[in-house]
Amino acid sequence: MDEMDLMKKLRDVPSPRTDAYDSARAALHTAMAEPVSTVVRPKRWLSWPKVSVAAVGAAAVAAAVVMGTTGTSTPTGDPIIAAPQVVDSALVKLASDVKAAGTLSGDSSLVITTKTAPDGSPYLVYTVYTDKGQVFHGDSAKTLQAAAAKGDDAATQYDANVMAAARLAATGDVEKAKIAMVNASPNGLGLGLSPAEQEKAWAQNYEVTAKMLREIGKQVPDFKPRPTGKELEDVINNRLWSHTTYALFIGAANADIRAGVLKLVATIQDVTIGKAQVDDQSALTLTAGPSLQGGESTHVVTINADTGLPIRSEVFPVKDGKPSAARYKSSRVNLADVVAGKI
């Protein structure tokens, strides 16, 4: 027996179930029938639904998730629009300091993320986000260089949307930036629209979702009215939190992005701010509790207290499941240096 024989002992795992193959084929048929649209990042609100709907489903799935959490009361308006107040001055002060310090030299953010893959192995993700909006990924400096050299731009409309919203928050109207950030991925909330238009958007989104679910043979949930009150605020703030932290994780080395993210997070009342010492750095912990995570978990993002750069991200499930974590190292680089393999 040698090491390859031992390896083969890890080979047997539970295979996907028969209906999963059927669903996957259905997703393929759907994609072949319609133009492929951009797949946006799913919300962290609930786990990615079991249906595979890459081609047409991202927006619709988001809507389905929202609809699954809604109440039945009469709409009373959007708190995010009605009350865009900033609730934590420490973050705003830090945002101001970050903005004043300005962006360091270079034309791109390099963020190196360390995660643990599902098989327990460490996994590195190298992401370069250029100030022009390109995104290059790699799982090593070498593969990152290859992606950048080939011009393998992985930027999505979602990336562009969250970055634009963060910049707007840093340099302009925070209220408008909040709406733009929430709307960075398609949804049926219709923020920024009139109440009548919001109801119409909600209903249209349900129809899109229902159509998609019918096409892949899934049960269509009953229609539920658009949420209201605290429930709506939580749904909106979940998206705001999810999108802003995503912007921080890929674009942190850009001062405008960082300052904008901090300003936007400061407007979420249910995010609590704490102080910590991490790896000899003064740090702030930004904690989004279960009300912002669909009741399922608590998400803690730790940032450097002086620079606002992300240090780590941790999720602690409320009930079952393991805690999870990712660590971040951010720096400014020149894309030309990445292409030349000088990082």
């Binding site: 002992k9 890890l10 080979r11 669903s23 997703a27 393929l28 249906v51 599902p118 192995s121």
Partner: protein
Amino acid sequence: MSSDAELIGRSLRGDTNAFVEMISRHETAIGNYLARRVGRQTAEDVLGDVWVAAYASRATYDCSYPEARPWLYGVALNRLRKHWRSEPAEVAAPDVARMAGDWDPWPTVDARVDTQALLRTALARLKTEEREVLGLVAWEDLTVAEAGRVLDIPAGTARRLLHQARKALRDAPEVAALLQVPTT
């Protein structure tokens, strides 16, 4: 029977059923590959994305290769990388609770579980590319050249990575211990 390359060629001319036929030849292999990497639940979630991505990129397929399975592994791996990237805080962290104590009440329950845990510990220390090549050869029965094709690296590089991976595994104390005792 048409080769995979021929079916992909027909799909590029509008015959979508040809692409589905090609997929059906490999869906079990790709499904199991995903399950080995991310577990059954996530594999089921991602499988449709793999087919959609393969369909969207079929124009880039090198038709000099009649067999498409290595290409599909490459597409699947890219989808996994994307999945891991897009879920920054939802991947499992090391289970420190399990490592906290040295008292183990189950030493005789399932020796295979111990073997797996020890092996996974050793695997976790390999470099990403070494682990990928090793997994493709040991679990997916690909040749070293095919593994290189999956990872878009020269066959010689894949061979070197496999050699490094095997040596690192042999030298790992956990694996050395396993190789010296009978395992189930």
